[in-house]
């Protein structure tokens, strides 16, 4: 049998999807997080509840949208609610297992910046800001991030701390008064970072096929730790790539 062919973004989506468990409640935004959640729901996690912070639960979009404010993403929902309904009574109450976020920058503790970056001339460039991201990072039991692996993005120090991951490691998160965060998982185009339980810091837990430790070191802005039992990221199955290409993202809007 011929080997399954897949692209890097397909591998990232599949890796993220496999990290979701059946019956979990997940808050996602547009893009690869949404693709990953839908793939999980179409395969091993049919009882996944997918929540959009605008106040939409378990939509079944028929047409692709431009963001969570696009009614295309609200099609065939099970429930509509308000800001407090979604981010208060669902998220703050503690019903969310996984918060799935993107970011401009991330540091070695999984803290995220989606607000602004410093420019070389001393100025700043402001972007979207938090939206619900900081709230999600506060209350979701597990924090997943999908992002491109570049030195300026996976960085030693954030230009702005929008959303808290492990804060400063150790017990700093609970000392700051925040609820426990069980897992921070960062899925890049090179590897998967997870939490080292003893240090409460991030470490590389799997390298994507063909990627070396040197590739990760060369593209990361902080001193990288590798897990004692470093694994190779599992590759997509034919079923998964077929679902992505024919049902979940047939126009290739998010999967390249």
């Amino acid at each position: 049998m011929a080997a399954v062919t897949y692209t890097t973004s397909e591998l990232m989506a599949v890796t993220a999807a496999r990290a979701l468990q059946d019956g979990q409640n997940v808050v996602v935004g547009l893009g690869l997080p949404q693709v990953a959640a839908l793939l999980a729901k179409s395969t091993h996690a049919p009882n996944l509840n997918i929540i959009y912070e605008i106040g939409v639960v378990n939509a079944e979009a028929f047409d692709p949208g431009v963001g969570i404010a696009d009614p295309r993403l609200w099609h065939r929902s099970e429930y509509f609610t308000s800001s407090i309904g979604a981010l208060g009574s669902i998220l703050q109450k503690g019903l969310v297992d996984v918060g799935f976020l993107g970011a401009l920058q991330i540091d070695c503790f999984g803290n995220l910046n989606s607000t602004q970056v410093k420019l070389a001339d001393g100025g700043i460039r402001h972007f979207t800001g938090s939206g619900g991201a900081a709230d999600i990072a506060t209350f979701a039991r597990n924090l997943f991030v999908i992002m491109k692996h570049e030195k300026r993005k996976i960085t030693a120090s954030l230009d702005y701390l929008t959303s808290v991951g492990l804060l400063e490691g150790g017990d700093s998160r609970s000392k700051a008064g925040l609820p426990m965060c069980r897992e921070v998982k960062i899925i890049t185009n090179l590897c998967v970072f997870g939490v080292n339980r003893e240090q409460n810091t991030l470490e590389v837990q799997s390298l994507h096929p063909g990627v070396t430790r040197e590739d990760v070191l060369a593209n990361t802005g902080f001193a990288v730790r590798f897990a004692a039992y470093l694994q190779t990221t599992g590759i997509p199955t034919e079923e998964e790539t077929a679902l992505l290409r024919t049902q979940i993202d047939p126009r290739g809007l998010f999967i390249k």
Binding site: L30, P71, I84, G88, Q92
Partner: protein, 307 residues
């Protein structure tokens, strides 16, 4: 047009708003249900130094900031979704000309919630450990404090109640009493209920008999509503679920021209200051053919094939 009950002309309601320093909470979210007709009329009537509040900033707020009429902006972040960034807002933050108070979608809504409940504050763990909180704490008169809970001794951020002078939301329909029907998610429900005067622009005024047939669709009952203005396509070029779609051509063009103040000024002059009301704005920016094409499919709630 029905003119009984709380039904008013948009221009007349806007005329009532103080010419300087009015406090207004806006109900849109990025590119959906933004109160565009209302915001354009604020600009035409020369209102200035507005204090704006919004859950997620979008098209309407970017136009207001670009027009130079916003003094202070409280919001939970914002964008035009895939169509771009709020460059007028962001540039104001970058060069310090806009006094911005950045919250998050939950934290600003906890302030609205406290306002709607008539209580002084709501405690929450959200924003602990962030630069967002550090920035808010460093501003004068900011409405957040970190305190220990008297019950569990845990650290909480106390979010002070907010009852803005006005809230302005756009909805598909309301009756003349001001019972407001919204289809889809209702992210603006808390701010609408927190305000002292709620102004609702609607695409269509429906009969109270329609409301009595569908009371479960009323998100905001009449007792909150100060005025209802019938403005067909009042959220255009943003969408209203089950009524009409966003205009992707206009929004993607706007997401480029809002990078430069000079380009934005030309757009504002042409379409907002150069038109006398929302009907003229619609005819100039969209035209009848485009408006017809954006009509929502009744099953999907948006215009299939329009984009």
């Amino acid at each position: 047009m029905l003119m009984g009950g709380k039904v008013r002309q948009l221009q007349d309601v806007v005329r009532e708003i103080p010419s300087r320093g009015a406090e207004i909470a806006l109900g849109g979210f990025a590119i959906t249900r933004c109160p565009v007709a209302f915001v354009n009329e604020l600009i035409r009537q020369g209102k200035k130094e507005l204090i704006l509040y919004e859950t997620i900033g979008g098209f309407a707020a970017d136009v207001l900031v670009g027009a130079g009429v916003v003094k202070r902006y409280f919001y939970g972040g914002g964008s035009l979704d895939k169509f771009g960034q709020l460059r007028r807002v962001n540039e104001g933050i970058e060069n310090g000309t806009l006094d911005v108070r950045e919250y998050t979608a939950l934290s600003i809504n906890l302030r609205f919630l406290a306002g709607s409940l008539g209580i002084p504050y709501v405690p929450s763990k959200t924003l602990l450990g962030t630069d967002i909180l550090a920035n808010l704490l460093s501003k004068d008169n900011e409405a957040v404090m970190v305190k220990e809970s008297p019950f569990d001794g845990e650290k909480y951020v106390c979010y002070r109640s907010l009852q803005p002078e006005y809230a302005v939301i756009h909805a598909p329909c309301a009756d003349e009493k001001g019972n407001v029907v919204i289809y889809g998610p209702t992210w603006d429900e808390e701010l609408a209920k927190a305000a002292r005067k709620l102004i609702v622009t609607v695409d269509k005024i429906v009969s109270t008999e329609f409301v009595r047939q569908h009371p479960e669709m009323v998100v905001i009952p009449s007792l909150y509503t100060y005025a209802v203005c019938e403005v067909p396509y009042g959220a255009y070029p943003t969408s209203v679920y089950k009524a009409y779609d966003y205009d992707a051509d206009v929004l993607s063009a706007y997401g480029r021209l809002n990078h430069e103040q000079a380009e934005f000024n030309k757009w504002l002059q042409e379409y907002v200051l150069g038109t006398k009301d929302h009907n003229e704005f619609l005819l100039k920016l969209a035209g009848m053919e485009k408006l017809a094409a954006l009509q929502a499919d009744p099953v999907f709630g948006y215009a299939r094939g329009a984009q």
